[in-house]
């Protein structure tokens, strides 16, 4: 049976001649070239075919929702399990967004800790200023978002005590950190005030080694590993969402454990 879509009269053969140049231009090499530039465009816009924008924003919206659920689940009085000093792993595990060989040591003598934001006293701190404050020791598990974990022993100034000393507004939402290795980070105020959140100066009984954040790093028992910035150079108390290095690349911000 004749297709109803076929024209009654066949088209004039001359039409084919008229379109020959166009047909010639549709050669395979052109198609490949076109495909390549489309690929380049996709890379330029940062758009991933495996991660469409709509899916990405939906996942990020749920991740933000999860952040608030995590904040609700967080019990400020619940202590993380602690372990005997004999279980401390020496040296601790190194992890950063670069290799251990690329660590740039910080000079403790010239190092200063800047304090800014919603605090009464914005004076910068030296290492000996921090050492003069009361110290606390904890032996806790470090849990990385990747899945590995180890037990480490940390000594330093409880962040709560430090925030009290600088007259921080404890009702502020965030405590943000800047570091010598350009690894911005931030945590919620409730976790900052947790008794197992330290400005750590020592590992076990020894001064922090260079790869692990000398002279000072954050060490909190209530967050995943990536919320523990090393080589901290500045602390800010703020109500404006500060984000962080991995957070801006898609990882959840709250990351409480």
């Amino acid at each position: 049976m004749r297709s109803p879509f076929r024209p009654d009269r066949p088209p004039d053969a001359a039409i084919l001649d008229d379109h020959k140049p166009l047909i010639r231009s549709l050669e395979r090499r052109g198609l490949i070239r076109g495909g390549l530039s489309l690929g380049a465009l996709v890379m330029l816009t940062g758009c991933d075919v495996r991660r469409p924008e709509a899916v990405e924003s939906a996942l990020l919206a749920i991740s933000r929702l999860n952040d608030s659920v995590q904040a609700l689940l967080f019990d400020p009085n619940k202590l993380a399990p602690t372990y005997p000093a004999a279980m401390i792993l020496r040296p601790p595990k190194f992890n950063a967004y670069y290799d251990v060989m690329d660590v740039k040591p910080v000079n403790g003598a010239t190092w200063r800790l800047e304090v800014s934001g919603l605090v009464a006293d914005k004076r910068a701190w030296t290492l000996s200023d921090l050492q003069a404050l009361p110290q606390t020791s904890i032996v806790i598990q470090h849990i990385c978002v990747e899945g590995w974990s180890y037990i480490g022993g940390w000594t330093g100034v409880p962040l709560r005590l430090f925030l009290e000393r600088v007259g921080a507004d404890m009702r502020a939402k965030y405590v943000a950190f800047k570091t010598a290795d350009n690894y911005p980070s931030s945590i919620d105020m409730a976790s900052a005030l947790h008794p197992q959140t330290l400005l750590a100066l020592k590992y076990g009984d020894d001064t922090l080694a260079d790869p692990f954040g000398y002279p000072m790093r954050l060490r909190t028992a209530v967050k995943l590993g990536y919320k523990n910035p090393k080589w901290v150079t500045a602390i800010e108390v703020t109500n404006k969402y500060p984000g962080g290095y991995w957070e801006s690349r898609g990882f959840p911000w709250f990351a409480g454990i």
Partner: protein, 228 residues
């Protein structure tokens, strides 16, 4: 068409079974939501696993992973978990309240399990009546339901090992809980392989999970209820 009922002869209405479908609509909806969510949880879990493997040298290639790197696998996993838990709770409550679990999955007699296994090994798979599960089917469904519950428990414990530190120590520590979470996945994937293969071998069962399947007569359901 409204007058069809009045015109239908009484004898014909009697011959049509009036019971509920083998798979009532809530079961079907929950089943297919679970199918999608399980695939999301499994494949995104493989993406998270690959960041720090449990079995040395064993990776999942990018084809099998949901999320093009760990952050997005994690976001998929932490989004999917809500759907898994809510959908799973609806299924469990429905199964217990309507008596579906007791009706379909009990009793299991060890002798029956052994007989079905032997028959299956001889490629004698009885499936004339898809409304009755054999002993091995019952056992597998119970195992996968328990594995699903176990995944939620081990999942919570590796998500919040400090907030639920009691649960973690009950499971034998963070790393043990993590391995258990991985093992639970392996059990569910193993079930899935058998489940999907059998549903393709007996497509009537697949169709029944879409359209509802044959009507199960209320009388027999009641009798079975008494026996159990």
């Amino acid at each position: 068409m409204g007058c069809v009922n009045t015109e239908t002869p009484a004898a014909e209405t009697l011959s049509v079974p009036t019971g509920r479908r083998l798979h009532p609509w809530p079961v079907r909806i929950v089943h297919w939501v679970n199918a999608v969510v399980m695939l999301i949880m499994i494949t995104s879990g493989w993406g998270i696993y690959d960041d720090d493997v449990i079995i040395r040298g064993f990776h999942f290639s990018s084809f099998w992973r949901l999320g093009d790197w760990a952050a997005w696998s994690l976001n998929w996993h932490f989004a999917g978990m809500w759907f898994l838990v809510i959908n799973g709770l609806i299924y469990l409550i429905y199964g217990f309240v309507t008596g579906r679990f007791r009706e379909k999955l009990l009793p299991i007699r060890p002798a029956e399990v052994a007989r079905t296994v032997i028959e299956t090994l001889h490629f004698k798979i009885a499936h004339e009546d898809i409304t009755v599960y054999n002993a091995v089917q019952k056992l597998l469904y119970i195992i996968v339901i328990l594995a699903g519950i176990s995944q939620v428990i081990t999942g919570i414990s590796i998500w919040k090992p400090v907030q639920f530190s009691g649960l973690v120590s009950l499971l034998g520590g963070f790393q043990t809980a993590r391995v258990l979470h991985f093992a639970g996945m392996a059990v569910i994937v193993g079930f899935l392989v058998v489940h999907v293969a059998l549903s393709l071998l007996v497509p009537r069962t697949l169709w029944a999970m879409i359209a509802g399947g044959p009507r199960v007569q209320a009388r027999r359901r009641a009798k079975e209820g008494h026996a159990a």
